[in-house]
């Protein structure tokens, strides 16, 4: 049976698909969030060096991961939109940006809260902190460029170029701890060696990472739906939808 992969690249069919998917991801994110926070704050043992303050990693690490990952995803979809002129992928990229910026901000904010008891300072000009800050600037640049352009197609393409140029920053953030060996501690979890933390801590963190994933997907899908409606408001299927909503 031939599957039509491109069916959902049409905004109209994606709109209904996203509508069905959103509740699933919302429920999943709420369950995972509750479970993750419970494990993080009640089950995981106290760290012998850092005391209770280490528990901020249950929010900090997932947020930092998501901030980088979402940027790559955003640049990927923006690039696809630029290369193949697909409307939906550009809309999707636009929808990702605010969530990514939010996670970047959370990562910086929780990092500052953690830095105060641990390093004795809210902020240091350390390589990883600085490059994460640059990431926030990149998100803001992307969003303000798109906001400044009235024609949505031009906004998509211009945003795609700036997003792709900014991708250079991601490996710099990711490897900054290894390259410069500054104040920020090394990665707590890595693929090719045993994690340097207790299993329950790791579990809590991974559950929180999953929760952030589910949350991001739900929010981004929702935002994409809104963008679709906004841009396609002149089409017949949106008019039909409007009629149906009015009846209900």
């Amino acid at each position: 049976m031939a599957i039509n992969w491109f069916k959902y690249s049409s905004p109209a069919s994606f709109y209904s698909l996203a509508g069905k998917m959103i509740p699933v991801f919302v429920v999943a994110s709420v369950i995972l969030l509750v479970a993750g926070l419970y494990v993080g704050f009640f089950v995981a043992p106290t760290d012998f060096q850092q005391g209770e303050a280490y528990r901020i990693i249950f929010i900090h690490v997932p947020a930092a991961w998501m901030s980088m990952f979402l940027y790559v995803v955003m640049a990927f979809w923006a690039g696809i939109g630029l290369a193949f002129n697909t409307r939906l992928s550009s809309m999707f990229a636009t929808a990702i940006a605010p969530t990514g910026a939010m996670f970047t901000f959370i990562a910086l904010w929780t990092g500052a809260l953690w830095g105060k008891p641990m390093w004795g300072t809210w902020w240091v000009w350390d390589a990883r902190l600085t490059s994460e800050l640059i990431l926030l600037f990149l998100y803001i640049g992307f969003m303000s460029l798109q906001a400044a352009i009235d024609d949505p197609r031009r906004a998509d393409k211009a945003g795609a170029i700036i997003a792709l140029v900014g991708v250079v920053n991601i490996p710099i953030i990711y490897f900054s701890v290894q390259w410069w060996n500054t104040l920020h501690q090394g990665a707590s979890v890595s693929v090719n060696q045993a994690p340097s933390m207790a299993t329950t801590m790791l579990m809590g963190m991974l559950i929180m990472v999953l929760a952030s994933w589910m949350y991001s997907i739900a929010v981004i899908l929702k935002r994409t739906r809104v963008i679709i409606l906004e841009r396609e408001s002149h089409t017949a299927w949106v008019a039909e939808l409007r009629k149906k909503e009015a009846v209900r």
Binding site: T130, L138, L145, R153, A158, I162
Partner: protein, 217 residues
């Protein structure tokens, strides 16, 4: 190549533009001793950073001129239609921008460094890093200038887009001078700036050319 000549000729005909950028650079650098106090030890440690930040701002402020005049009188559209590769045209324009704004900054930097009581070898390193770094600023700036062409509030927007991308050049440019003053080798910093230059020479004209196509669609 003809485009470099043309842009330079335009710049010579309107010298005030070039001089404005240069004097902006000088004024910004001179503001710091006035605002933080004339203590020589502190100024010496601040000097590389101050000169680099001022160079960044000066080169950014003049970005608007790179394409906007040609855009307004329609020349840019003709350039897009010409059989010449657009990337090469952009490269030419970026190099002309560097010759007009970057080179005067590089030449002026040692003089400003003396104001800050930098030792001679630090002055030398400062000039070399600026010589390597300012073309990167013009090349990256070309992308931002092309993207914001004809937008309202383009001037502020271009700074938001371009300054984050300038940061690595700033860090290693000022870092090289500091490393030299601390008595550590600065080769690594210089090599990194050289790498930025090569990478941006290859990719920036291409990215700026596609930005121009987007903006002029």
């Amino acid at each position: 190549m003809w485009i470099i000549k043309r842009d330079l000729l335009l710049a010579v005909r309107r010298q005030s533009d070039v001089l404005t950028t240069l004097f902006f650079f000088i004024i910004v650098v001179s503001l710091f001793p006035l605002s933080v106090g004339p203590e020589m030890n502190m100024l010496r440690t601040m000097a590389p950073g101050v000169v680099w930040v001022a160079a960044l701002l000066a080169s950014m402020l003049s970005l608007g001129r790179m394409f906007s005049n040609d855009y307004l009188d329609g020349t840019l559209e003709q350039m897009l239609l010409s059989p010449q590769s657009l990337s090469l045209l952009v490269l030419g324009k970026a190099l002309a921008h560097w010759l007009v704004t970057g080179v005067p900054l590089v030449l002026m930097a040692p003089v400003l460094g003396i104001q800050y009581d930098l030792p001679v070898d630090a002055l030398f390193v400062l000039t070399v890093t600026l010589l390597l770094g300012t073309p990167v600023l013009s090349l990256i700036g070309a992308i931002g200038a092309a993207l914001t062409l004809g937008l309202r509030g383009g001037g502020v927007l271009v700074s938001l887009l371009v300054l984050p991308l300038y940061i690595p050049v700033l860090i290693f440019g000022a870092g090289a001078v500091e490393a030299n003053m601390a008595g550590v080798g600065f080769d690594a910093h210089l090599s990194l700036i050289g790498a930025f230059l090569l990478v941006s020479l290859v990719f920036a004209p291409w990215a700026a050319a596609s930005s121009l196509r987007v903006s002029l669609e």
